[in-house]
């Protein structure tokens, strides 16, 4: 048995907590008991539903807003409602599409990868691009997300339909963002008028202004007019995981996945542990 940890670590000021105005907020630690003064450590962690390698549900803003991001989702469960057989040692097919900096995976590439994969009914799907690595994440900071490969909407829609046909219920990827950065970060860090220098995420003044520009809600849309690739996938799945690392260490075309988010009652998203078992 071989265990491979595919989880992005958590550390203060990690790039994934600094890049977007709303969905990712900064990771902050406060050592309120420390070795020198107390002889022991206790830490208060300020995380977010998308910290590290997250698992996100259709109603991502639960428990305060139980409305799913996309209308009529195939599932609409909260974190504590996911059956354990979906999370523990679940058969998973690897979908290989090598993608470098800034590449948007297209529908043709999905078609080819689906043909090549050993993909069976009921499998979870792990889309591996080769992007997710600890070294890159530690060295690149927010550029790790700005320059991440991603999934074009047409490709995501095709994959989502195939996953429904195959009764697949979880999507994972080592892309740092599922939506193309130009869509996710439209007029924040990319687009026609990106903000420079890049502001801090919520609750910065710039994030609050952006919320006003968006009509007071970021629940169901992003600033770009392009459709959401992530939206296409989350509508057809129990949950989606992103920002995985070390997927290149998987040698087999299929693995069993352990996917364990925090057990947050009525939670909509959580930092998660992803472990492949070969």
């Amino acid at each position: 048995m071989r265990l491979i940890d595919l989880t992005m670590p958590i550390w203060p000021s990690a790039g994934y907590g600094e890049i977007l105005p709303f969905t990712n907020t900064p990771v902050e630690f406060i050592e309120y008991m420390d070795y020198a003064n107390n002889g022991m450590r206790q830490t208060r962690l300020k995380l977010n539903g998308e910290t590290g390698s997250p698992l996100m549900m259709p109603a991502q803003h639960a428990p305060f807003d139980m409305t799913p991001l996309q209308k009529n989702p195939r599932y609409n469960w909260s974190l504590n409602e996911i059956p354990l057989e979906e999370l523990v040692l679940h058969d998973t097919a690897i979908l290989d599409i090598a993608a470098g900096e800034g590449h948007e995976i297209n529908a043709k590439q999905i078609e080819v990868a689906l043909r090549k994969a050993d993909y069976r009914k009921g499998d979870h799907v792990l889309l591996r691009t080769g992007w997710g690595s600890l070294q890159r994440a530690y060295e690149m900071g927010i550029a790790y997300l700005k320059n991440s490969p991603s999934v074009h909407y047409d490709a995501a829609a095709l994959l989502a339909d195939k996953m429904e046909e195959m009764d697949s219920r979880m999507f994972m990827t080592d892309c740092a963002l599922v939506n193309p950065p130009r869509v996710q970060g439209y007029n924040w860090f990319l687009g026609e008028s990106p903000i420079r220098p890049l502001p801090k995420p919520w609750p910065s003044a710039e994030a609050r202004e952006r919320l006003m520009d968006m009509g007071g809600s970021y629940s169901y849309a992003h600033a770009s007019k392009e459709p959401s690739s992530y939206g296409a996938l989350i509508r057809k799945t129990i949950g989606c995981g992103k920002c995985l690392v070390n997927c290149d260490q998987i040698k087999e075309p299929r693995v069993k996945m352990i996917i364990l988010p925090l057990l947050i009652k009525k939670g909509g998203a959580s930092s998660c542990r992803f472990v492949a078992v070969e």
């Binding site: 008991m33 022991m40 354990l84 925090l262």
Partner: protein, 277 residues
């Protein structure tokens, strides 16, 4: 939650490529933004889910919120030992585990004699993790308002901890899991000093908790956490506040302990799943 799944099995003692039935048991105390039973003492951090338009939007929790894993490096004396991101996966994921049954009621201390008797009854293979089950996490006390879950938890005596540590070291075991809310009982300073305050202040970051911890010295910590120190000294990792352990019935048991992947962390809230064949 009790789920049944059919799997082509792994190796390492399990059958390869053969259909069998495995049962998954959730042993984790849920993180509930309405109420957490462990926020009694000043060293607990308040668990908080802030709504999306609140300035604190996100997930705020302590490193020992709910069911949690504590490494020896939590204590200054052992700070040079492994941190969370350095613990080998095999020590936490799918580890074979033996159960040590010592039924206990409110406030009872586990004695050296009870540990000795329980050890004699347990089938224990070298290298297994050890689940010390008292029944405390099966009574629903963790769902009741008040401080009983924490303050009345069963706990190990110093002598019992020494025997348990010696036994585990002799069997090459370094992972102790339990359904108790505490391993020892911090009753030299923490409990008498904090619980004498009326009305009892909130946990950290209340002003009172900040002042109390400012005056809480390493010497006080060694007095209060003497039992934890005994186990930490021999390298034993501890998972506490498990629930529903009585649902575990099989001798063939594997445990998954899944903490947050915190760089240089020394403790973390975690998810714990039992897998029975």
């Amino acid at each position: 939650m009790d789920r049944v799944g059919n799997h082509d099995q792994l190796n390492g003692g399990m059958v390869i490529r053969q259909k069998s039935t495995m049962k998954y048991k959730e042993l984790t105390l849920p993180l509930d933004h309405d109420w957490m039973p462990d926020e009694v003492l000043p060293m607990a951090a308040h668990f908080y889910l802030a709504p999306k338009y609140h300035p604190d939007k996100g997930i705020i929790l302590g490193s020992e919120t709910g069911t949690c894993l504590t490494l020896p490096s939590e204590y200054a004396d052992f700070r040079k030992t492994a941190r969370l991101h350095e613990v080998p996966m095999e020590k936490l994921f799918l580890r074979e585990t033996s159960v040590l049954d010592i039924a206990k009621q409110d406030g009872q201390e586990i004695t050296e004699t009870e540990v000795k008797q329980a050890i004699e009854k347990t089938r224990f293979s070298n290298g297994n993790a050890l689940l010390l089950r008292t029944g405390w996490g099966d009574r629903g006390i963790q769902c009741e308002p008040g401080s009983r879950y924490i303050l009345a938890s069963p706990h190990l005596s110093v002598e019992a901890a020494k025997l348990l540590a010696s036994f585990m070291v002799g069997r090459e075991s370094d992972l102790l899991l339990t359904d108790m809310a505490w391993i020892g009982r911090p009753d030299k300073h923490l409990i008498p000093e904090w619980c004498s305050l009326f009305p009892r202040p909130g946990p950290w970051p209340s002003t009172e908790a900040q002042i109390y911890l400012h005056l809480y010295t390493p010497e006080k910590a060694k007095d209060d956490f003497a039992v934890e120190f005994i186990l930490a000294k021999v390298g034993i990792m501890i998972v506490k506040r498990l629930v529903h352990c009585e649902a575990v019935i099989s001798d063939r048991l594997r445990i998954i302990v899944s903490p947050l992947h915190v760089v240089r962390g020394v403790s973390s809230t975690c998810r714990v799943i039992a897998i029975e064949e």
